[in-house]
Subunit: 214 residues, 2 copies
């Protein structure tokens, strides 16, 4: 398969594919000679993943490169690889440590993890970027005077744990570590729009049920 074929089968323009190659999102093809390179099904698969991350998941190109780098790092075990890939994903702003809402949010998130019994998450908390973006989001809610507290949030955490369990069950039906990590990244990113849409549909549905369509 050459570049033009890759483009046809993926629906991505050759210019964009070249850009992804340049940015290191897509590994180079097998160079046949100075003007020809061969791509295989693996490239097509990776290209579709890249597109999904960027277009549906809105992941910045630089972040996608980093995440995919971890996915491909065969020197790591599965858990570390998964962790590294997930850690590379968030691109939220740094919390403003001077803001009292941030400090309060941090405390409350700590209590939440305790309530949920998420020991690994608690140990990793000071370093984890995921933890950090949780703090930022909670701080934003608090600034809007939403009485957010750990007890209120614990059920959501439990629900997300339920979601994660289903995903890992499903991942286990797949063969290689790389495939599993790839799948975990795809779920982390692509289930987001799905959950968001279901969430909003549920809001509308429940609102219509409670109050009718006035």
């Amino acid at each position: 398969m050459r570049l033009a074929d890759l483009s046809k089968r993926s629906g991505v323009s050759t210019a964009t594919i070249k850009y992804y190659l340049r940015e290191g999102l897509l590994p180079p093809g097998r160079q046949v000679n100075a003007t020809t390179a061969e791509y295989d099904e693996g490239h097509l698969r990776r290209l579709r993943l890249v597109r999904a991350l960027i277009q549906v998941g809105k992941v910045p190109v630089a972040t996608a490169r980093e995440v995919l780098g971890h996915v491909d790092d065969e020197s790591l075990g599965r858990t570390i690889r998964l962790g590294a890939a997930l850690w590379a994903l968030p691109q939220d702003a740094e919390p403003d440590e001077a803001d009292p809402a941030v400090a309060a949010a941090r405390t409350e998130v700590g209590r939440l993890l305790e309530l949920l019994g998420w020991e690994t998450a608690r140990e990793m908390a000071p370093l984890s970027p995921v933890h950090r973006s949780l703090v930022v989001a909670v701080a934003a809610l608090r600034r809007l005077d939403y009485p957010w507290d750990a007890e209120l949030m614990a059920p959501y955490g439990a629900l997300m744990m339920e979601v994660a369990r289903r995903e890992l069950d499903f991942m286990e039906t797949h063969a290689s570590d790389a495939e599993q990590v790839e799948m975990a990244v795809a779920s982390a990113v692509l289930f987001q729009p799905v959950l968001r849409a279901l969430h909003r549909l549920a809001q509308e549905e429940e609102s219509a049920r409670r109050y009718g369509i006035e």
Copy 2:
């Protein structure tokens, strides 16, 4: 309160506040004379909401303006107002109707709503932008060969309904329609990062529990 005070109390630069005023995200202050305008607590509250939408929720400025327009539209009843605001929120790309994955996704989403018994959502389906972005996201998952089907997704839908019920219960503790709609919008947008973070933390936690830290 003048512009500079509004800036100090919100932590948003005067230049940015002026920009929001120009873009219609913030209603103008009470004009005292040609060079002075007075802002009140309502402006501060709105400004915080705008910031949360844009910075944490990553909602584009143009979209935020539209959403807030619906929140403020007192000619509408609560359900319609909520629906209008939520409909204005998504900013996903249009589905490519020529793509067979999109057609398959549409069918599958229809079956999902049937399984969940979400009648209002089914009636609104052809028009709803939220429904549309669900189709886009599901199509992306299908293209990656994830065997997504309605039965697999139904539990997620049920979980999101549970989340929505909690939110509406909480909303009911608040007074005016406008406040309730504002709160619904804030949840729709700000719970997203919270859920995302909890989801990823749960993934890491469960992975560590199952496989240890190799």
